[in-house]
């Protein structure tokens, strides 16, 4: 099998902190999920493959080249950072045009490519609005669009679904699948197993800078199902939503914090839960401002694996 990204005994430390510890791995084409809790070394991994960092020890190659200070390699990959990263005052179109120009597009070509990609990401009608006025989902989509504008071969996604609503999550999952079908190689980092699982079966499980497991999604799935999946929801009518969610079989427990209109739901079947959640929101017209899944259930699996 062809290898696109190769790590050979790679370690990276920052002072006394070891972020990656003697990692050797070959990443083939297709979608690969980089799964691990915060601090596992996922971001360091992505910084190494994008050339922002040099390994303290070992060798990293991407498409057969050393990515460090290799600006030419950036033409072959797109990077979607975890944090919001844009100039808020720019309109969506101006932001995208600028990103395209940084890739070497001439102004007219940059504008044309920007409009095409904005259309593909359902942002064309909002292209003249400043990015500051975009919703969380729109911001995520434009962040993804900027990484795809030059039609890269490899796409790095750092926690792409953080803070996204269920519809946005589904859209992103669909897009990753489409890109994968189009022959792109995608590395997606996440701390939520079921999100990664929806995109790929090929998983690298990271913890404390080490690779615990590779390509064993079913096995991980089995382990994680033993632990309840936590979802935090901020909504205008927390109590009412809680009573409706309790009707579903997969929901084990719900904690309500009235003052913040915040629900913490525990479900044993996250896939099913998210489907039911979308239906509940749409049918009852809840105003949901925030959905997140903390990684404490994944932590339990890691604790189990490292025993």
């Amino acid at each position: 099998m062809k290898t696109l990204i190769n790590f050979e005994n790679v370690s990276r430390w920052y002072g006394e902190v070891i972020a990656l510890n003697d990692i050797s791995i070959n990443i083939p084409p297709g979608v690969t999920g980089l799964l691990g809790p915060n601090g596992a070394g996922k971001s360091t991994f992505l910084n190494l493959v994008t050339g922002r960092l040099n390994p303290s020890k070992g060798k990293v190659t991407v498409l057969g080249e050393n990515p460090r200070n290799n600006f030419k390699l950036a033409r072959f990959y797109g990077f979607v950072p975890e944090q919001d990263a844009y100039y808020e005052k720019l309109s969506g179109l101006d932001f995208m045009t600028y990103m395209a120009q940084l890739h070497g597009f001439e102004r007219k070509a940059a504008k044309r490519a920007s409009m095409e990609i904005l259309e593909r990401h359902n942002l064309l009608t909002h292209m003249n609005k400043p990015v500051a006025a975009y919703s969380k989902g729109m911001r995520q989509r434009i962040k993804l669009a900027q990484a795809l504008i030059h039609d890269p071969e490899i796409l790095y996604l750092d926690e792409p679904m953080n803070g996204m609503d269920p519809i946005g999550r589904n859209e992103t999952i669909d897009l990753v699948k489409k890109l994968s079908s189009a022959g792109k190689t995608i590395i997606v980092s996440s701390h939520i197993l079921h999100e990664v699982e929806a995109m790929t079966q090929q998983i690298i499980l990271m913890h404390n800078g080490k690779i615990l497991a590779e390509g064993i999604v079913q096995e991980i799935r089995g382990l994680i199902d033993e632990y309840p999946h936590n979802v935090i929801i901020h909504t205008d009518r927390a109590r009412e939503m809680a009573s409706q969610l309790l009707n579903y079989d997969d929901v084990i427990d719900i904690n309500i914090e009235d003052k913040q209109n915040r629900l913490k739901v525990q479900s044993k079947e996250p896939e099913k839960f998210y489907q039911n959640l979308v239906a509940t929101i749409v049918e009852n017209g809840y105003n949901v401002t925030y959905i997140d899944s903390p990684d404490d259930n994944l932590q339990s699996v890691f604790k189990y694996l490292v025993k």
């Binding site: 600006f71 950036a74 100039y87 890739h103 071969e153």
Partner: protein, 291 residues
């Protein structure tokens, strides 16, 4: 409908880059800075000395040469152009702050740095792109009007001897403006790279320039050692006038008080510029560590 093979498609072209990679950064920075209305007013205000000098030049050119005891300020000598740049150098100070104080820390705040560095740009491209924004504004109030004044003098009253005799003024204007602009730009970028917002970088810029000025004046008045004037960064910048305009710099009104040793001054500025560049490079390449 196209059917794609679900595998990696090898790029068959050659890896090559075209054009100046950092130019879009500069263009965007200039465009965004010009969108600030107050900045635009200031920018227009910076051209007022040009109008005053142009009027002075026209009057000077029209005064018959055979008039004895014509006022000194009506004579269009190389010190006329040096004087113009001397006045503009005080505007450069504010221009630099306005156009450069938030260039890098603004990117920290908006997390834009990681986007830049995931594009086909080196850290040097990024720094050059940002540096050129400040340098552009500084040059538009120095080199552009100064060269226009020179052309205006040549057009109003063309004298071959004056033109040939003073042709060296053009490279002097270019060299001095470029040196001052780049030095100011590097200073502010460095401060922008080590601070978290534009207010801090502005304050730091003020403190460094005025503090070193005060220390230099104090020590010079106590010890009367000429080279102590070089402690002041402003004096070092002013000393560049002597390098580019030679003895004509001394005719600039008020210049003698600031006349530090030009070669010490240039050496200090070169060291500071190299230091600033490495600080910027280090800060731009820095990665946040989540433990």
């Amino acid at each position: 409908m196209p059917i794609f093979e679900q595998t990696y498609r090898k790029w068959e072209g050659t890896l090559k880059t075209t054009g100046i990679r950092w130019l879009p950064i500069t263009k965007m920075g200039i465009k965004q800075t010009f969108k600030k209305k107050r900045f635009l007013l200031f920018f227009i205000g910076c051209q007022i000395p040009f109008l005053v000098f142009a009027i002075r030049l026209i009057i000077g050119a029209l005064v018959p040469e055979n008039i004895e005891n014509a006022p000194e300020f009506l004579k269009i000598t190389p010190s006329f152009f040096a004087h113009f740049l001397w006045i503009q150098s005080s505007f450069i100070f504010i221009m630099t702050i306005w156009s450069g104080a938030n260039l890098i820390n603004g990117d920290y705040q908006s997390n834009a740095l990681q986007l830049y560095l995931s594009k086909p740009l080196t850290q040097l491209d990024y720094i050059l792109g940002k540096l050129s924004i400040v340098a552009f504004f500084n040059l538009t109030i120095t080199v552009v009007p100064a060269i226009l004044l020179f052309i205006l003098r040549a057009l109003i009253k063309y004298e071959n001897s004056w033109f040939v005799q003073n042709l060296w003024v053009i490279p002097a204007i270019l060299g001095l403006s470029l040196a001052i602009s780049v030095i100011h730009s590097l200073f502010i970028l460095c401060l922008s790279a080590i601070t978290t917002n534009s207010r801090f970088s502005t304050i730091a810029y003020f403190i460094i320039l005025f503090f070193t000025d005060g220390i230099a004046d104090l020590l010079h008045s106590l010890r009367r050692v000429h080279s102590l004037l070089n402690i002041s960064i402003s004096n070092d910048l002013f000393s560049l006038f002597q390098i580019f305009f030679g003895k004509h710099a001394a005719k600039i009104p008020g210049y003698s008080e600031k006349m530090a040793d030009p070669y010490y001054g240039a050496a200090i500025l070169i060291v500071l510029c190299v230091l600033c560049y490495f600080v910027i490079k280090r800060r731009v390449g820095r990665i946040e560590v989540i433990q």
